[in-house]
Amino acid sequence: MKRCMLVMVLITAVMGLQTTLRAAVGCDLNDPDRDVARLFPGSSGYKTLYVSIDKKGEGSLLREIEKRLGDKFQGLYETIDVPYTIYEIYQGKEKIGYIHGVNQKGQYGGIQVFLSLDLEGNIRSFYFQKLTSRAAKELRNPEFAKQFKGLNLLDFYPYDVVSGKGKTPNKVDAIINPAPKADFDFRAALRATKKNLILMDEFVLGNRYIKYFKSE
């Protein structure tokens, strides 16, 4: 009987391992040592956290996140089991910020949007790690990324990711699309940013912005 149990445990463990190995793809920095130093000059180290919606709160958390995003998670790859990699940045022993990236479907390929945030969840920098777009050059222009600096989830709440317009006047409406011909990818970048901020609020910022969402 004991042997039987042991065999069952082993089979379960192997099946569990297979499930882990076959899980959805996350979004990691290509070269964390280099990228952290570039995004947080003066930092001395970082810790990596791995979180996913299904492990933290399952379906109810997914629905909550979708509600805050104003859109459903879509397609084959935006799923509940996507592992998110969060980099906690340190200066000595003091935590000074975070870096987090998300995948987003663009018109012609995948887009990876990374944000570096301060401890209050304000955007320090916006960064396309990967971008397949006919307007890649314009969207990768540092002037475009600068428009995100200082924004936080409070600014993104009024932005409707489905219509691509703000429900009420907001700072996101002021972000200029550098390539009107690539409106799909521009809106994809904004959706990815909003999703990124919501996930960070949920995973590491203790939902400090949720009260603003509920009060709307």
Binding site: V25, K130, T132, S133
Partner: protein, 233 residues
């Protein structure tokens, strides 16, 4: 009157322990024999299936040509060497050859892949012979190309995941600024096919100006063929 069967039967009952041990011995031997034969048969079936799933056992390339995407990446997407596609007909004349499938790999530099750009490889395959050779490939969505020179792509699971592509989406071929339509997404295989972007070979030849050229020719030989002969060919 005692006959042979009665004598045997009585003898079996006379030494019960011996009889039981003998029966057990025979049963054990029969079980081992059946197991070994079953294992042998299963192993043979599995080996044949694995060989069939390889698609092709031999890959012909021009000398020095990187023959898989990983090697091509390591060489920075350069160093491809080409063969004339007529080699396909020439190799088919050998009696040991069952099937061949021509391939053309091409790589482009994508400046928007990562911080300082990266290489993306495309594998042109023959829609008539390649799917048959790789019959173990299963689709998560869609299917193979609709025609031999269609501007279409079939993506390995990880390639599609990275590019967030599904059937019906467009994929931009970097450097060439051309769009191809995703018609199929393969299920994960655990092989390098997972990271491959497949296009019809004629399309790759046309896009990259390599008409009539190949970088590889997959050969499936007949089961009874002597592969060693080919290795030294």
């Amino acid at each position: 009157m005692l006959n042979l069967y009665k004598v045997s039967y009585k003898n079996l009952l006379r030494k019960k322990t011996r009889t039981i041990l003998t029966i057990m011995g025979i049963a054990l031997s029969a079980w081992v024999l059946a197991s070994l034969l079953g294992f042998n048969k299963g192993y043979e079936i599995s080996l044949n299936r694995d060989i069939d799933n390889m698609g092709f056992q031999l890959l012909v390339t021009a000398k020095g040509c990187p023959y898989e995407a990983a090697t091509l990446m390591l060489k920075g997407g350069t160093g491809l060497r080409y063969m004339d596609e007529s080699i396909s007909d020439s190799i088919m004349t050998h009696s040991e050859v069952e099937k061949v499938t021509p391939m053309l790999m091409q790589a482009v530099f994508d400046p928007n892949k990562g911080e300082s750009g990266g290489i993306t490889a495309y594998l042109g395959v023959d829609p008539f012979t390649f799917p048959g050779m790789k019959s173990f490939l299963e689709f998560k969505q869609g299917g193979w190309f609709t025609n031999p020179d269609a501007m279409e792509t079939v993506m390995g699971f990880e390639a599609a995941e990275l590019e967030q592509r599904e059937v019906g989406d467009l994929l931009l071929i970097a450097e060439k600024e051309l769009e191809v339509k995703v018609v199929g997404v393969l299920k994960r295989t655990g092989t390098q096919d997972d990271g491959t972007i497949f296009l019809p070979i004629r399309t790759v030849q046309k896009i990259f100006g390599r008409n009539g050229e190949l970088t590889g020719l997959g050969i499936k030989v007949k089961k009874e063929a002597n592969i060693k002969y080919y290795l030294n060919y």
